[in-house]
Symmetry: C2
């Protein structure tokens, strides 16, 4: 049979990272490639208690079909936490529970993007967003990321020239670069966007994982309804639950609910109830603080090992939170080539290439530090340093 | 702000049924409107045990990110059950776990439908499929359902004239009509389709709920890779879990996995593990047999009450399984009008209208019998009979 697939499928590739993860299945490989939270951070016992309790106390009602919008007390909790953390006033009706924040990207693309619409991404940009939006056949524009956030001049030009429908950002502990947008950068982005009809997508899976410095306000604080915020329980409770959310207003929320219903009726309700029970019976702040301490130590260890073993020509970011740091090799050196050599030394990372919508053979790469022990971090960075030095000598 | 939504959103409406369900929130209303399994059928204790066990035995691994395709032993279980029930040889690699079978419809539409592509539906057709496919802007053709399945002559004509990309069917205890396709009808559909490039979508959420007669082979048995089958644990375990699957081969499966990854990375893994543990530790056959007995009694009660109270002009189907029966009022009588009158008598159902892609003001309606007690069935049918008689007298 000759199957004619939809044209939109020509625009999306199988995740490069998934292919890399196959290499990392070899137990001898030390992997800085994945984006996995550390399993030691999962509250196993508390989840077990919550699972038991919701069934004991609420019986079959937690196993039945439920509303598309999601469990109201969970949405109230999320709205209330936005107020506590940022003084952001959000109603529960402005929260839609999604099957992870990846689904949020799919729903947003679905309701907003016509073929050829302009979408602005950061350069480098989050791979999951590139994948999700690609299906709806937009044209991507990318704007450089600096150490303190987006390049504002480039952003202003891009907004003027391309009149984009969406601008997708990940302002806290950016994936892949680890960059955090400064407070000033956030305010200026809002100022620029207010002069256009561009909707901001403010993806925020990591901001609770800040181990240095203080929380910064979301851009939504300055931009109001023109920003859609995304959140997730994957990094602070457990990713297997696939629980994320969208915070949006008015007609945007109406259309999102329609799209959500057509996509999967509603998000797993048993898990919504379990996570809500977990949040009710446990001190979330205390739980997150433990994760922060764990990740801080790992990040410090990786930064120290890079300092110790890497040649001085190699630059890397020093994230204030989150899960990744970003390495820049000398100009002209290919991280894809480095990847192949590193694989032979049993160490893996993600080459920068898939994070650029047009880039090829870039000299950047992403390292994850959350899912390795300190001993593995030292050994892995040592191996990587060895390969980098080989390549440098070869280039010279 | 003036938001320009994607054109595809002009084609999909908020579910009519959801609007109806709001009326049924009034506790005085007897509702035959929803499509809910009976909560007494949910294996609460066994789910509780399974939830506890997977965490106790497998720890944090059941809370981590997992593979897009789904948990391999669960996919093996599903493949093995196809073989046991129908002698259908399917590999685990040909099963993709989805967030309910509603998501299967979204993914299939996404990978196959270009704007204007032809999609064949049954008349009446399943509302969830109409909603999911609508987003991808196809043109719908509908083919009449007879008592023994699809109208084969109409199907042949439609295939010839429109060269459709998809033909979506629900051959067992059809939603909304309760019709089951005969074995002969299934074979003939396969014969017809083999002469075309049309892919069959064989949706099968209900076939395990057969309480009269014997299992019939899926059309895939005669049609092979040209059929995509959909299944679900919603009606035999619990809908809150949002666990369904797609059975497809070759390039279709490859594209579905890419679309699934972009849509939500993977289905809730904790729930996949819980349901697999439940299936391992319990006798599923025994569990399903209890549901069948429960639904058989309710179906018999509703058929008997219709016989007792409804005027003889009213026709209704007598399903051999599943959750619904289908009522046809005399020609010219509007089920929407009946709905409004019935609401005043505190009884609800789903008027036929949303099940027709073009139909307006039809004389058919859907009744659900699985989620009411026998006393409620008697009282509800009595109230409905009263209103029908009023309308009939008015017409005369």
């Amino acid at each position: 049979m000759n199957i004619e697939f939809a044209e939109r499928m020509n625009h999306v590739q199988k995740s490069f990272i998934r292919e890399i993860l196959k290499i990392t299945e070899n137990p001898d490989v030390i992997s800085f490639a994945g984006g996995l939270p550390n399993p030691d951070s999962f509250p196993i016992k508390a989840i077990q208690q919550a699972s038991e309790k919701v069934l004991a106390d609420y019986g079959s009602s937690v196993l039945q079909y439920s509303s598309t919008e999601g469990y109201l007390p969970l949405r109230e909790y999320i709205a209330e936490r936005y107020y506590q953390r940022f003084g952001l006033s959000v109603e529960a009706d402005e929260i839609l529970i999604t099957s992870g924040s990846q689904q949020a990207l799919d729903l947003i693309g679905k309701i907003l993007l016509n073929k050829g619409d302009q979408v602005v991404l950061e350069r480098p940009g989050y791979l999951g967003a590139i994948q999700a939006f690609s299906i709806f056949e937009p044209e991507f524009q990318s704007v450089a990321l600096n150490d303190d956030g987006i390049d504002l001049n480039q952003l202003a030009d891009t907004l003027k020239v391309h009149n984009p429908k969406l601008f997708y950002t990940l302002p806290n502990f950016h994936n892949p670069s680890g960059v955090t947008y400064s407070a000033e950068n956030r305010e200026k982005i809002a100022e620029r966007l207010k002069q256009h009809q561009t909707i901001l997508i403010e993806d925020d899976p990591y901001s609770e994982l800040r181990f240095i410095g203080e929380d910064l306000p979301p851009i939504k604080k300055f931009l109001g309804d023109q920003s859609i915020m995304l959140g997730s329980f994957s990094k602070i409770v457990a990713p297997a639950m696939r629980l994320g959310w969208i915070c949006a207003q008015g007609e945007l929320m109406e259309k999102l609910i329609i799209a959500k219903q057509a996509a999967d009726l509603h998000t797993n309700y048993y898990s919504q109830r379990i996570v809500h029970q977990f949040l009710t019976d446990n001190d979330l702040e205390n739980h997150i603080e433990k994760i922060r301490q764990m990740y801080k130590q790992k990040r410090e260890s990786m930064v120290a090992m890079i300092e110790k073993y890497f040649p001085k020509e190699i630059k890397s970011t020093q994230p204030e939170g989150g899960m990744f740091l970003w390495v820049t090799l000398p100009e002209g050196m290919s991280s894809l080539e480095l990847f192949d050599l590193a694989a032979k030394e049993n160490v893996a990372f993600v080459p920068g290439d898939p994070f650029y919508v047009n880039g090829e053979n870039v000299n950047t790469l992403r390292l994850n530090y959350t899912n390795s022990s300190e001993a593995m971090i030292e050994e892995g960075i040592k191996r990587l340093a060895k390969v980098i030095k080989q390549m440098l000598n070869h280039v010279r």
